[in-house]
Symmetry: none
Subunit: 252 residues, 2 copies
């Protein structure tokens, strides 16, 4: 599975069943697009298309424009090989319950071959038993047991985020763009630092003791840039000059 | 340390800086509470308290009621030992960029000992450079490069979700690596640094310009320990004394 294959994301659709509030459809479209998902299917939306949906979609208006409207969930899932229903934890359903991350792995694996779906129910009543019966698994976000009420778009955001995270996961994040100082430049900086601290009588020359080690640890944690080394050495030079001026014979 | 220690979540605060729309504050409170976070701090909110915020908070009205309002970000972070700014990817900032999962691990590790913060900027302009300079790291959600515009509550939802996921996941927590200095201690160090550099004629007092910002970036990347702050301030004092001796009338 090539993780950076955009076709995988194009094969993952978000199905919103019986959504009551058009604003939630728009917000869900926005959440999807931020994570690179584009296939939205609406089953029996109460109101659609709608200006409030457009407003909440913000820059994801294209996702709304391309949304497919179906009259049954079965129709929305007809060409899919895997559909996972998103639901709060339900005691009445005997089904495998996946965490979002496991769901994302499943969906991406299957999306190599065919369209797959994440199915979200009505804002108030969730997925009906009939709707659940069309899903091959249940995804539950492990929310706060005292308050597990994610709104619809928030749930779409979390699941879409997990899909994208898993999709991106392998190569990791690229290196940050830092004009890092070389080892030699940093060693020269440490040499300068030690000399300057000796000049300031802050350490005994020849026995820098633990102090230099501590300072090295501090600066090595941070990966200094070239510019930062120059700034720090400028400060050291200024301190050395100040010290020299202070100990210079008074006739100068 | 048991993974389900609720004190860890109680030590993680969400800081919303200069939020324009009260509805977003409410939606953020709801997002937090679904994931078990309860500490909300608002820095200069445009409108608060507000009925729209209450409406969007839904069952998380208690999080809003307990929210603390501060006039500066420094005040909001004064007692924290780790603050991570949430931001879209920025090329102008040389800082360690964490993915949400890494950020969650860092925050939870540190939260064993002290309050920590996730900092979110204004809806339109994000975090200012000054605000970022108060953070020890940057978190970026790896969004769709073609459309990375998560709304504020969606970003809070994703980060809160990751915190909860990692919190539930991890069997235990490693000890924190260092006795981190608090935000207030670090601000006092920066104040001392600026004064000392002015004494050394290394910067013009009153117009520290970009230099202080660059130095803040350098030191915020590394997360200073208490001991390191003491060493650095000792060096600054030594340099100041040297300068004073140099400019003292020669009869001394």
């Amino acid at each position: 599975m090539t993780q950076s294959n955009p076709q995988l994301l194009a094969n993952i659709r978000v199905v919103l069943a019986r959504t009551s509030h058009p604003g939630n459809i728009g917000a869900a479209a926005r959440a999807m697009k931020t994570m690179g998902l584009s296939q939205l299917v609406l089953v029996e939306p109460a109101v659609f298309p709608n200006s409030q949906a457009d407003a909440m979609a913000s820059g994801a208006i294209d996702v709304l424009a391309d949304a497919r409207v179906c009259s049954t969930l079965a129709e929305a899932l007809a060409d899919t090989t895997l559909a996972l229903g998103v639901s709060a934890r339900r005691r009445d359903i005997v089904a495998e319950i996946l965490m979002p991350q496991q769901a994302a792995v499943r969906l991406l694996t299957e999306a190599q071959a065919a369209p797959v779906a994440l199915v979200f129910g009505n804002e108030t009543s969730g997925l009906s038993n009939e709707e659940l019966s069309l899903c091959q698994g249940l995804v539950t976000i492990a929310a706060n047991p005292q308050y597990s009420s994610l709104n619809l778009a928030a749930a779409v955001q979390v699941l879409s985020y997990e899909v994208r995270r898993v999709w991106l996961d392998q190569p990791g994040w690229p290196d940050r763009e830092l004009d890092a100082a070389s080892g030699a430049e940093i060693e020269r900086f440490y040499g300068h630092l030690e000399t300057a601290l000796a000049d300031l009588d802050f350490l005994h020359p020849g026995s820098p003791g633990k102090l230099m080690l501590k300072l090295r640890r501090l600066f090595s944690r941070t990966r200094l840039s070239r510019e930062e080394v120059n700034i720090l050495r400028g400060i050291l030079s200024a301190a050395q000059q100040a010290k020299k001026a202070g100990t210079r014979p008074s006739n100068s």
